[in-house]
Amino acid sequence: MAARFQSQATRPRIAGSSGMGGRWIALSQSNARHDASLQHDAMGEVSEPAHCGNGGGAASERRPRLISLALAAVVLLAIARAAAAVEVAPSDGDWPMAARNYASTRYSELNEVTADNAHRLRVAFTFSLGVERGQEAAPIVAGGTMYLAAPFPNVLYALDLTQPGAPLKWSYRPNANRAAQGVACCDYVNRGAVLWKDKIIYNTLDGVTIALDTRTGKELWKTPLANIQIGETVTMAPLVVKGKVLVGNAGGEFGVRGWMAALDADDGHIVWKAFHTGPDKDVLIGPEFKPFYDSDKGSDLGIKSWPPEAWRTGGGTAWGWISYDPELNLIFYGTGNPGPWNAEQRPGDNKWTGGLFARNPDTGQARWFYQFSPHDLFDYDSINENVLLDLTINGAPRKVLARPERNGYLYLIDRASGEVLSADAFFPVNSENGIDLKSGRPNYNPDKHPQVGKTVRNICPTASGAKDWNPSAYSPDTGWLYIPRQNLCMDWQATEVNYIQGTPFVGADVNMFAGPGGYRGAFIAWDPVARKSVWEIHEDLPIWSGALATAGNLVFYGTMDGWLKALDAKDGSLKWQFQTGSGIIGQPIAYRGPDGHEYIAVLSGVGGWAGAIVVANLDARDKTAAKGMVNATADLKEKTRPGGTLYVFALPAS
């Protein structure tokens, strides 16, 4: 197993010094052994967590680790053998940001709960968030406190984990504008807060970024960023990189102009703001910009790849995930769909929507860009998570970025250059016939090309993608990505749509339904090196929750009918499940409580695009309601009800 546990190349000694006995091996060794024996290693690793996680032994193991944390200014998330957290310093038991670490692995090295004992998991405590709307946030845990960002009206709760039953420590209620609910495309969710030093920072739906004092909940600063009058909202979880809070807007369905802003974490002032359409100076494209593919080279492509003026309403929002590689000093994030959905109203490649930016977090200057969906046809927002991995590809070590993209392909991209190394379908895609690695462009299937006045049938995947925002997890133990996948296809009729400021700008009538096989969701383990799926679990309903992987050889995910499930990471067998009463669309996390034990936490509360039918009480008789999603989840009202509850699980004290 050690082969896959590697710290960042620059700090091998620190990684080695984290005191985990035989677990942490220096990078130089790991790379050599890595891919050739991946499968073998995975098997060989089984015994390790058992050893670490057993009873009192576990506690004793933890202490030195905590000490080493205190000693080191930086704790490396070595497990992720990825770009490690430099400035945020989570203990290995904390969960300081939605993706846990800058590499976005959503992996916890805690191993108290294992595949063998998971069946004993019990509820430790619960907490009601008081809003029965889609709970997409990841709980944030640090310093014995858990921070929960609730959906609109975006109350932030701090729970004191040191007390029995985790009572409320403080809560913060922003005075968010109610009207923002009218311009939030897919339920008024919030994807979580972020911890930065002594601040907890999050966004409200109406587009205000707020920093609070972690101890008191006092508002330290707040910066309004979005203008709901033109349809902008903010639902994403911010990320803090080098003292800068990165926030992107949502509103791709309202013809807004997407942007990513960096705020100073200390006082909230805007350091830079990069738009995703328009002239290069707005997009922060300068001399540093070195895209890999020719189609991204040229000046002012953000104007020239659009019909005149269309870039002003061109979307390309950034409401998803940001990753950061401290070594390259680059942030990576995707840009959303171009507006409107009806592609005929925006001929051209529609730069810089539907793609992936690598930027310098200090200046915001773009380093490279890769476009997953030039001239996006089907609302393939490219905002999904970017998992930063160091893999050996064709015998050579590569710093890659793994991207399970909405269009159904899993991309491995060289994160230094932006070159696509491979792109493999993890879903029966028929909207595109593969990706041309030479040009980097997808081969759109001409049979599925939409045209105003024509209905195109059975397009796979849907607008919500083979996988939407709900992030996958990467386990270095297995070396696999765990991808919560949807299995939906759709009929699509493009229609001409009018841009009326502040109203939806969509232009497609869509009707979604279960894809091949008749099931609607799948949870898959994907081997990025072998470039194929290892195992798949089929779910009747789409999976809208994130994934969590732990060192206990477990992967967690939730279902839309309320089950939190724990699977054996190696073979996908179900080890434990719990019915939470409302569909789970949140992001499960694992943390070490102040008592030293491992806890699994998740927010239950159905909603989001897929769950809107339940929380907004949509009418399933209309097959096109919620942009067609209602037809795919027409039975959901009978399977789950709205909710908004935190569930925390732990092994019984025994």
Binding site: G453, K454, T455
Partner: protein
């Protein structure tokens, strides 16, 4: 012109006077209003069919006059687009569905059994039913129109303009259901005519001796039977699209807007020939009678009719050249549209040859036929032009086409129809129309027609599209439109002359006698108007022009006079086969028609109308068809 005294007709009826009292009793209707409601006499029904058709003709003509008045000058404010659209929709719909086809069938309903030498039409109750359905359908659409629920999408009702997105309310539903009414009626008559012509011809009237009018009606009826289901299907699809949300014509959900056009024109093009072919038969009758010789090249004429009827089904796409169908297919339809000119050319030649080699008498009916030549040939030639794809792309949906089809339909059908009225009026009523008024009628009509429609050719070429409620000032269309409007009033005056002529003749017309024109066919071998039983005895025929034989007509006896019995003969040789009892008058066709009307109108508003409305209809039909003791042994032994 001095009216020539009719030559005494061959003194046929006298031979058969035996038992005519009993025959009259057997074939009589109930007295009074009840008899009017229950009659199954093809002559009474034919007469009211003709009257109703003429009423619709006049109504539609008034609409045309209103439209022409609106178009007399540019930017005219007489009416707005909504009114105008309803007017032209009603004009086209009424003319095509309530006048042209029904009136041709109506004349046939009256004349065909007489010409066949039989006592009534086959399926007489169906005949009565057909009239009621037609009447109710026509009345329905006109009441709807009067109530501002008239159709607004033209007589062709193209989707999607006619679907619920663009034609809200019930206007188009009434239109579509009116189609169903008239098609049911037309199909019923077509079936009757086919049966009558094939099975009840007088003995000896082989197919070779069959008058061309019978031939033309036989072909027309077959065309009706093949063409009408297409439009009924189309209009039913339309209603279900509009009422229960099916997607037949929805391109976004698997349907197709062009499906309507294909279905409609697969009916719509033959429809033109359904109107035109009977007129050819009428012309042949008139030409024959007034030229005093049998029509030249009888066999060629029959073949011409048959090929016309056949090719009529292969042309529909020439209404759709502009829709962008594949060019190769279009070329085929061009060729087919050209080919159909050949049978017409054959017929024109034959008639001219007949007149030229005969001894023509230029009475009003023949005048109308001569007018037909002048107008129809021009219409036919513009038809050849329209068959050419490129040229059609220029003139399609312009006033050129308006001119063309009025030349074809008025020239090709209405002129012969008027000729036929003048020709058969004495038979219908026993009185003669005034020849002087007839000539006024003809010349006003002829001049008015050309003044109205000839400029439209030019209007179309200089860019005036059809179906516009007004047009701008500076287009150069003003003068020609004004002229056309003046012509329209001339036509109106001519129609007025006709009406006056008819009314005057009915009141104080000169008695006609049995055969005022000295015509050769069997309808003239009985009294004018004919008695209820048509012929006291069934004549035996030995030539194509039986009444021109020097000999008296031999007669058949053996049909019972105490029951409604007719003689069935073989289809080709007209050899006597069996006798056949016909049903007595009944009110159930009327009740069935009323029940059907309820069902149709109800189903405009709710699909349940089809379900619940079927119950009274089933009851009425059951009673209608319930075997009565009288009907037992309807089929008797082969006579003689």
């Amino acid at each position: 012109m001095a009216t020539r005294k009719p030559q005494p007709a061959p003194d046929v009826p006298q031979h058969f006077s035996d038992g005519s009292d009993e025959l009259a009793r057997t074939w009589a209707d109930a007295p009074g209003f009840w008899g009017w409601l229950t009659t199954v006499d093809h002559k009474r029904i034919g007469r009211r069919y003709i009257c109703t058709g003429m009423v619709f003709f006049v109504l539609a003509g008034i609409l045309a006059l209103a439209m022409r008045t609106q178009l007399a000058r540019p930017e005219n404010g007489l009416m707005g687009p909504d009114r105008y659209n309803q007017l032209f929709s009603m004009h086209g719909t009424t003319m095509m569905f309530l006048f042209a086809v029904p009136i041709m069938e109506a004349v046939a309903v009256y004349v065909v059994p007489l010409m066949c030498g039989t006592r009534n039409i086959a399926f007489p109750r169906l005949n009565a039913f057909s009239y009621w359905v037609y009447l109710f359908g026509g009345v329905m659409i006109w009441i709807a129109f009067a109530m501002n629920v008239g159709p607004e999408t033209g007589w062709f009702s193209y989707v999607p303009l006619a679907n619920s997105d663009y034609s809200p309310g019930k206007r188009t539903d009434f239109w579509a259901q009116m189609i169903t009414f008239t098609e049911v009626a037309a199909l019923a008559v077509a079936v009757e005519l086919v049966a009558t012509i094939l099975k009840t011809r007088a003995p000896g009237m082989t197919l070779a001796r069959m008058p061309l009018f019978l031939w033309s009606m036989l072909i027309t009826s077959f065309m009706v039977i093949f063409a009408m289901p297409s439009v009924m299907l189309a209009s039913t699809f339309l209603i279900t699209d509009r009422l229960v949300g099916t997607h037949f014509y929805n391109p976004a959900d698997g349907g197709d807007a062009l499906l309507w056009q294909h279905l409609f024109w697969f009916f719509g093009h033959p429809e033109v020939y359904i109107i035109f072919v009977p007129a050819l038969g009428m012309i042949s009758s008139i030409v024959e009678t007034f030229s005093r010789r049998a029509v030249f090249a009888h066999t060629a004429m029959v073949l011409a009719l048959v090929t016309t009827g056949f090719f009529a089904f292969g042309l529909w796409v020439h209404h759709m050249f502009a829709t962008g169908l594949p060019a190769l297919g279009n070329s085929f339809y061009t060729a087919a549209s050209m080919v159909i000119a050949i049978p017409s050319a054959v017929q024109v030649f034959s008639w001219l040859a007949t007149i030229g080699t005969g001894k023509p008498k230029f009475a009003t009916p023949l005048l109308f036929v001569l007018g037909f030549f002048a107008i129809f040939v021009l219409g036919g030639l513009t038809g050849v032009m329209l068959a050419s794809v490129p040229l059609d792309l220029q003139v399609h949906d312009t006033y050129f086409v308006v001119a063309h089809f009025h030349y074809v339909l008025i020239g090709g059908a209405v002129f012969p129809l008027f000729g036929a009225f003048y020709y058969w009026f004495p038979k219908f009523t026993g009185r003669r129309l005034s020849e002087t008024a007839g000539k006024w009628n003809f010349w006003l009509f002829f001049i008015g027609f050309n003044v109205t429609f000839f400029p439209m050719h030019y209007l179309g070429l200089i860019g005036m599209p059809r179906r516009v409620y007004t047009y701008p000032v500076d287009m150069g269309w003003d003068l020609w439109n004004l002229i056309a409007t003046i012509g329209a009033y001339l036509i109106a005056i001519s129609a007025l002359v006709f009406v006056v002529n008819v009314v005057r003749a009915l009141r104080s017309g000169e008695p006609a006698g049995d055969n005022p024109w000295d015509a050769p066919s069997l309808e003239w071998a009985t009294a004018s108007p004919p008695p209820a039983y048509n012929f006291a005895a069934i004549p035996r025929v030995d030539s194509a022009t039986p009444l021109w034989s020097d000999n008296d007509l031999p007669a058949l006896s053996g049909l019972r006079s105490d029951r409604r019995e007719i003689l069935l003969t073989t289809a080709t040789d007209a050899d006597p086969q069996i006798t056949w009892g016909l049903p007595k008058p009944s009110s159930w066709p009327l009740w069935s028609a009323i029940a059907l009307t309820v069902l149709f109108i109800w189903s405009i508003f709710s699909p349940w109308g089809v379900v619940w409305g079927a119950i009274p209809l089933a009851v009425a039909l059951t009673i209608w068809f319930w075997p009565s003791p009288d009907d037992r042994g309807l089929i008797s032994e082969k006579s003689r």
